[in-house]
């Protein structure tokens, strides 16, 4: 380190003091990153708030302020009501589904038995697949005419299903494909939490005569609650922003049956070019995410046990 000091260039006293001060170096260090985040993160937040009070579309060059008109239109728009309903139904299917599958598999995989690395790899592999690849595979699996799922169902006597072409089934198929796609993530989170549980606690419970089911209910599950809360919040935020699978598999159809909020927002913004209206929907989505997340933390706190 001493040689560094010798090689420091000599500047005049005042300049050196400014350049060496934490105020200068601090700003020099943060500026490149902060400029990007402000330009593409902070400014757009304010801008889209402003836009949500404007009429802004490609048809006219002017963008007059229209007050709450966009929000009022949203309240009247039947597709928005449907989109909210579909988003919530999907979230209610996906979040518990992914958590239960993840917990079950993680508990099963949390032991040293033969082929365990094969089992774990199979679960982790679902993390490697992008939403687009996942959607394409599942569209094919659930193809009404040639799909292999219909074939398996026909073997057990279930008649041919329309799946993604059916307004009553499409959302369930999308939930199934996203649960499959998130299995690896949920397993990793739960497996890490399970491995952090001290073996002594489980042994103590066994010595006290608790059966495996009671140990799981009374010891394991409470100790997993921080991981469960994290997963619930994280999966919910992602579920409310569902887009890729819908865009690829159904484009919101059939008969709007899979139009979720973000898909409708995309449709309004980049197919109809109603930037003002789309911004209002985006802010509404933001509000929904904040409210649901806040509720989850509030309720979750009551059921969450932190060990330390």
């Amino acid at each position: 380190m001493a040689d560094l000091a010798v090689r420091r260039p000599r500047r005049s006293g005042a300049v050196r003091r400014v350049v060496a001060s934490d105020h200068f170096t601090g700003w020099a260090f943060v500026t490149p990153g902060v400029v990007i985040i402000l330009l593409f993160g902070a400014v757009p937040i304010v801008w889209s708030a402003v836009m949500s009070f404007q009429r802004n579309n490609l048809l006219s060059p002017s963008t007059p302020f229209v007050g709450l008109a966009n929000y009022r239109q949203m309240a009247r728009d039947p597709v928005v009501a449907q989109a909210i309903q579909h988003t919530l139904v999907y979230t209610a299917l996906f979040v518990p589904g992914a958590m239960i599958v993840g917990l079950f598999l993680a508990v099963a995989m949390n032991r040293q038995i033969r082929f365990i690395s094969v089992y774990r790899t199979a679960a982790f592999a679902t993390m490697a697949i992008s939403t687009i690849s996942e959607a394409i595979v599942f569209i094919w699996l659930f193809d009404p005419s040639y799909g292999v799922v219909n074939y398996f169902l026909s073997r057990v006597g279930v008649p041919q299903q329309q799946f993604l072409n059916s307004p009553s089934e499409a959302l369930f198929v999308i939930a199934a494909m996203t649960i499959w796609g998130w299995t690896g993530f949920a397993v990793v989170i739960y497996l890490a939490a399970l491995q952090a549980i001290p073996q002594t606690l489980l042994e103590a419970a066994a010595i006290d005569g608790a059966g495996p089911w009671r140990t799981f209910r009374r010891i394991t599950l409470p100790l997993l609650s921080p991981a469960s809360l994290f997963l619930a919040v994280w999966l919910t935020i992602n579920a409310l922003q569902l887009f890729d699978e819908v865009y690829l598999s159904t484009q919101g159809g059939p008969l709007n049956a899979t139009t979720v909020l973000v898909y409708y927002l995309y449709n309004q913004a980049f197919q109809q070019f109603n930037f003002g209206y789309a911004s209002a929907i985006a802010y509404f989505l933001f509000l929904v995410i904040i409210v649901i997340t806040a509720i989850q933390f509030r309720v979750g706190r009551r059921f969450t046990h932190y060990r330390s």
């Binding site: 943060v30 993160g41 902070a42 033969r114 592999a125 687009i132 040639y146 495996p212 933001f286």
Partner: protein
Amino acid sequence: MTATSAPAARGEVRSASRGSAAGAPRRRRRLPFSPWHLVLIPATVVLLFPFAWLLVTSLETPAEALRFPPVLTPHVLRFANYSDALASAPFVRFFINSAIVAVATVVCNLVLCSLAGYAFARFRFFGRTALFAVLMATLMVPFQVTMIPQFIITKWLGVHVLAGVGINHIGALILPNAATAFGIFFLRQFFRTLPIEYEESARVDGASRLTVLIRIVLPLATPALATLAALTFLDSWNNFLWPLIAITSTDQMTLPLGLATFQGAHATEWTLLMAANVMSLVPMLAIFFLAQRYFVRSVAATGLAGT
């Protein structure tokens, strides 16, 4: 399931009673394998079936693919699907674009977030608290809120500043993600856990702030940098919505967008579609197989799981 496994794993007490019921006093016949296999084998089959079916379809002839009941094992392996897919869309180009975007995003994030994260962790400078609060606020906002202005800004930058970062250039996929509030926050938190003594003594020896960061702090922060790099890479590699908005011409597309576009154009040519899908999947699967044993350990280390 738990009920059946427990006696096998734990014990003499229960096995005695069960054993006598089965007519073999004092010794219970154990399964020659853990009963958990009976759960895990079907689960694994279900988890892997989509991959297997993807592979099978990608090797079938188009006529075989469109048959019901489906042909579960193709009679001839038709590798020509792969060359046909490559001939009908520039998948190599998509792959290269994805790789450029992901690597550039990772490198920019590591550099910019290290600098900013270190300043926020250790320096006292004018406006630090306020600036940090603004960054944290942007963390909470979903992308859908910012995407329309981001589109307008990117378009403006492309027209007035530099075409390479404008709409319809892969630069538009790199620049907005070149630094993230999450990355800055994540590294700041990590830097604050490091003992400050090394840094102070280096400062006393006359090292500049930048030298301290590069020579002392970053080598200590390798696990955090690796985690950030992996998360950023995955995000970038799988990103779909922003490329869908920002890119329209084929030669600038990334893999997810290229694949989606290909699906739009060849919706019923399942064999080609699956061959293309396999090709886009293989690199990521390979990385996952190599890296998987670090997953659980690194999640446990970052405390993401909370216990």
